[in-house]
Amino acid sequence: MSVSLVFLAVILLIAGWWLAHQRLFSKPWLEVGHTHDPRPHGPPVIAPAQIGLGVFLVVVGALFTLFISAYFMRMASTDWWSTPMPRILWLNTAILGLGSLLLHAARVTAEQHREETSRTALIAALASGLAFLAGQVFAWSELTDAGFLIADNPANSFFYMITGMHGLHILGGLFALTRVILKTRAGPIGEKGVLSITLCATYWHFMLAVWLVLFALFSGWANDFVELCRQLLT
């Protein structure tokens, strides 16, 4: 559970840092008659949707961290042998990274009011997301053809389960992306449209980061890193 505890400690540090700026030492019973509101006037600086997405990503982060914790704990047993990584995963990683770049481009061009470019980039990002999912399914079939079935070995089980969970999250992101594409398909992309695109891009970057961690985990590099940390600690 140490991975989860590290994740939790980071979250608690961020929450504590935020709380420390909330005048927790003030004496509200003395402050009568004022509004005493430290928040700036007018609409909030960060849109609620952005904070909502941030909190959601923390939850998703907790989810994958717990999967990784379970992975490390189960790995300690003797019946574990690593699953070989299909070569196509490298291509998939590149495609996912490409999607991230495209969404970034879509956001920047939407901010500059280059609507047509932005729309093209969004559709290209959607295509790259679909290509990534197809690539993942191809990787699965390659593994099963090679005889690495889900129940044969815990490493296989984890590989299928966690990549599946990641794929489901990508699929959810694609639904959101499709909605954004439909919403912004005609006319100028307003402030709301730019916000939606930004949210999609943030989600995509996060899922890319999760994938990179997972890929490192399955390839075994993460083990070396964890081993290094363990040696540093002891």
Binding site: Q22, V59, M73
Partner: protein, 591 residues
């Protein structure tokens, strides 16, 4: 030292918070069924939770009938008994307590208490309820599935949970249970995002964090914890579902069942326990923190006195929330873990008693020389304090490894957790319903029925759970379908068991009075008016009662904290949070 910072209040214009775009329902269906209004969603959550809670109540009756009068009821066989135990526990902890505190009270109170028009993401809020309902329906479906619901115990420990010896293990029971939990977690996440972001972004002008009522602090902190803890339950459920359906071996060691070698091998049941309790212990506080918050507000309002040590109360809530993530393994003392771990977890467990005790002292000090009105909400709040102290003290016993090991599998543990996380939060729920029912419906609950309900429930709960401590101390094991002949169990213990069963039937029946009161008072209750308890918090200052869609005509502005009761020199014994100025407050002393 007088250091009150007075403001004139006039400088602040009312419309400085941006008005949110409200969703406007167009038909009866979208207004009352597929509603995006947090108040309607709250009532939907609460009704569903109470309905499924009644099922769990009946299950506890059946269980008690078997324990009190073993063999007298032929239809309660061992399999059914375990199914009743499992479903009773799971429903009460997750589908009743969690859903009612966060989905019910959270939805109703957060926007109103913070002066918001609604939650920030009303659509996700609606989805949250429908996923919760779906989760409940999947759970109920398992009663009708072949083989019945799972009988694995509410902790669902593998490997027994997915083996043929356990009811539902090789049938649909466990699959439906795990699916239902997964749905619940997804649904809760949608609601939880709403509660957190509404607290962060939806507060009206002047409502700083340190002016929030403790109810909101409790629900907010509990939601943050739940968002971090429920993924652990989710992961555990997904992995066990894989083990059961796809034949993987995450949790399943090599097992010979009925002389047949199963295909599983090498899995770690302890891994499940870690994941489960990483969720399971914060879950205790996910239920307790909203209860702490609500009870603080009830006590302050009905004792007409400001809450003692508001800041300390806030800090204690936050500290308890953080600490509760590093105590989970105290549920696993008997799992054969490294004794040094046991030492670590016993220490953290005992440390958590410090902020908790601070809260109890502060409640008592709030009551001290207060103008105590023994209204129904107050009675329940007082009963909560007593019960919580009771259950908390036995928690100190069980937090120590050497005491826990012999007591772990006895009725002592049943008595402990029912006192501390069963009876205590339920008492708060009752108190809160008596307190806020007038705001939800515009009418008071019937006082006579309420008194009957309170005294039978409070005294009865003690008569049920107090004797269980003694049963536990003489070594009567929990989870047993029947005791049979055991030399260490005297005949008097059997008499005690009969007594407990009869009390359980009576207390259960008292809840029918409560349910009847809830329905009867909608039409026949006394008119409540906008603020029957003369309370300060914003939900009592709405222009209409019950508040209509959008809550406010013009968003309120907050000028003071939530606990200005019996302020010396003030015209009345309460000053609402949205009342500007500081007339007559000059004599107030600063601490």
């Amino acid at each position: 030292m007088v250091d009150i910072r007075h403001g004139t209040g006039e400088q602040i214009g009312p419309a400085e918070v941006e008005d949110v775009e409200l969703y406007h329902p167009h038909s009866w269906w979208t207004r009352y069924v597929f509603s995006q209004d947090a108040k309607i969603i709250a009532v939907q959550y609460a009704s569903t939770a109470i309905a499924i809670g009644m099922v769990a109540l009946v299950l506890s009756w059946l269980m008690r009938l078997q324990l009190g009068f073993p063999g007298a009821f032929a239809f309660i066989d061992a399999e059914r008994y375990y199914q009743f135990i499992t479903m009773h526990g799971m429903i009460m902890v997750i589908y009743l307590l969690t859903a009612l505190f966060l989905g019910g009270f959270g939805n109703y109170l957060i926007p109103l208490m913070l002066g918001a028009r609604d939650m920030v993401f009303p659509y996700a809020n609606m989805l949250s309820y429908w996923l919760y309902l779906l989760a409940v329906l999947v759970l109920v479906a398992s009663f009708f599935a072949p083989g019945g619901p799972t009988g694995a115990g509410w902790t669902l420990y593998p490997p027994q949970a997915v083996l043929s010896g356990t009811p539902g293990g090789k049938d649909w029971g466990i699959i439906l249970m795990l699916s239902s939990l997964i749905l619940f977690v997804i649904g809760f996440t949608m609601g939880g995002l709403n509660y957190v972001v509404t607290v962060l972004q939806g507060r009206t002008r002047g409502m700083t964090l340190m002016r929030m009522p403790l109810t909101v602090w409790g629900i907010f902190t509990a939601t943050v914890m739940a968002l971090l803890a429920f993924p652990a339950l989710f992961v555990a459920c997904v992995m066990m579902l894989f083990d059961r359906v796809l034949g993987t071996s995450f949790f399943m060691p090599a097992i010979v069942e009925m002389g047949e070698q199963l295909q599983h091998g090498g899995g770690s049941p302890i891994l499940f326990q870690h994941l489960f309790w990483f969720f399971g212990h914060p879950e205790v506080y996910i239920v307790a923190l909203p209860a702490f918050g609500i009870v603080s507000d009830l006590i302050s309002t009905h004792a007409r006195k400001n809450i003692f040590g508001y800041r300390m109360m806030v800090w204690a809530i936050v500290i308890i929330g953080a600490l509760s993530f590093i105590v989970w393994a105290h549920h696993m003392y008997v799992s054969g873990m490294n004794p040094y771990f046991g030492f670590f977890f016993a220490t953290t467990t005992l440390i958590i008693a410090v902020p908790t005790a601070i809260k109890v002292y502060n409640w008592v000090l709030t009551l001290w020389r207060g103008d105590i009105h023994l209204t129904l909400p107050m009675l329940f709040a007082l009963a909560f304090i007593v019960t919580f102290v009771n259950g908390g003290l036995t928690g100190l016993f069980l937090g120590n490894v050497v005491v826990d090991v012999p007591l772990s599998d006895t009725m002592f543990v049943v008595a402990h957790f029912h006192m501390v996380m069963g009876v205590a939060p339920i008492l708060v729920i009752f108190g809160a319903i008596y307190h806020w029912y007038p705001k939800v419906t515009g009418r008071m609950l019937n006082e006579a029925m309420g008194q009957l309900h309170f005294w039978v429930t409070f005294v009865g709960a003690y008569l049920i759970f107090f004797p269980m401590h003694y049963l536990g101390l003489i070594g009567m094991p929990r989870r047993y379908y029947e005791m049979g002949e055991a030399a260490f169990v005297p005949a008097s213990a059997h008499t005690l068991n009969e007594f407990i069963t009869i009390m359980a039937l009576i207390v259960g029946a008292a809840q029918v009075v409560f349910l009847f009161n809830l329905i009867w008072s909608i039409r026949h209750g006394r008119e409540a008016g906008g603020n029957p308890w003369r309370a300060t918090t914003l939900e009592w200052q709405t222009p209409e009662t019950p508040p209509r869609h959008g809550n406010w005509k013009e968003l309120p502005v907050v000028y003071r904290w939530a606990y200005d009761y019996s302020v010396p020199g003030a015209a009345e014994d309460f000053i609402p949070q949205n009342q500007p100025g500081s007339a007559g407050l000059a004599s107030e002393e600063a601490s």
